[in-house]
Subunit: 199 residues, 2 copies
DNA sequence: TCGTCCATCTTACTGGGAGTAGGTTACCAG
DNA sequence: CTGGTAACCTACTCCCAGTAAGATGGACGA
């Protein structure tokens, strides 16, 4: 690795390094199949250190997820600044998302793994990070739409996020679908609605 | 339990019973937290029997998932027969879905857990059952829409499924959202598109 | 009624990974 | 040079998925 024999590194640095390695291992092997011993060894440190800093395997995964989600948020948020109108903002956001999942597969794979935590004590934490995601959409929408009904707007945000997540997973099976094409598909349904397609 | 001391039951019956119990335990404790020993004990049988019939913990979960998915499919399929037009069919299907997730929480909880299998050897199996789900939508759509582009239709189906899944999860946090209301929200975005809402 | 066969079922184990108790060592401050 | 503490380690426990090898009930032919 980069730091050949270096030991005794400050807490913050060590944590970053651990997250980096864990991200790799979790996304390669999958959450269940990954072992804390393996991660510890790759980091070049003993297992109790992982527990010192992250308390549990779940905690480590959550840290990775938060990291990736922060990046995703940053990327999509940046993409929408300076959008001309609602349609443009939506399209830019979608494109940024689909580019992200193609270029940063590892991070995206991790985000999908949060589902593995359903039914665990950390489920509340997951809820929190998820809200962050939908809030971004909700905020975007409230800036461009008339929303008499808050609940309705929230539902729409969840709807969009879910749809894109699934479409992204689908894209993994279709190498020929570029981010641009995926964006087009998404916009087509999302913006125009299915009504236009009825025969 | 119902069968007090009865032993030595034929394979098919025992399997059904195991699936029933496992469905209960998986949805209560969550997949990771559930133990095969516990399930075996509740069934009133020893652990190797579970492995005899389902090979692995994952296998048992998959059996439960297939069961639940079959029910869901049946329900939604039935709902759409005799629909007047595309809009009606879509609305009926959505309503049936949202009713299902409210009335059969246990089964729905299970379906969500399939995500926990991502990255495991059973991922292919999961893909298969998922395809079943999207095919239903795709078939429904192909019956009512003009689809010059197959890929596009497939994408749209994935899109709808993902959106509804997420919306359903959101509904769990909002007790006040009835299946009828959820359907309305979904139809509103899905059918009319967001364009109508732009200010 | 009595074997005999085999599907159903059991006890008793292994292996591996999550999580921990308690001690050790390098670095920094004074 | 000398505490003091943050970073670190060895060496465990316990739990749980998965398995080997054998026991048993009962259907069915004679």
């Amino acid at each position: 690795m980069t730091t050949a024999k270096r030991k005794r590194m400050p807490r913050a640095d060590r944590m970053r390094q651990m997250i980096e390695v864990a991200e790799q291992v979790f996304s390669e092997r999958g959450y269940a199949a990954a072992s804390m011993d393996e991660i510890a060894e790759l980091v070049g440190v003993s297992k109790p250190m992982l527990y010192e800093y992250f308390n549990s395997k779940e905690g480590l995964l959550l840290a990775c997820i938060r990291e990736s989600r922060a990046v995703l948020r940053e990327v999509t948020e940046q993409a929408t600044v300076g959008a001309a109108d609602a349609e443009d903002a939506l399209r830019r956001g979608l494109l940024a998302f689909f580019v992200f999942i193609r270029e940063r597969r590892q991070a995206w794979s991790l985000l999908r793994h949060e589902m593995a935590l359903i039914g665990t004590p950390a489920a509340d934490e997951v809820e929190e990070t998820r809200r962050q995601q939908t809030d971004l959409i909700a905020a975007l929408m409230s800036g461009h739409f008339d929303n008499g009904d808050d609940l309705k707007a929230e539902a729409a945000a969840e709807f969009v996020v879910g749809a894109c997540e699934r479409l992204a997973i689908w894209c993994e099976r279709h190498e020929e679908v570029t981010p641009e094409l995926a964006t087009e598909y998404a916009m087509d349904v999302l913006w125009s609605g299915l009504r236009d397609r009825a025969r």
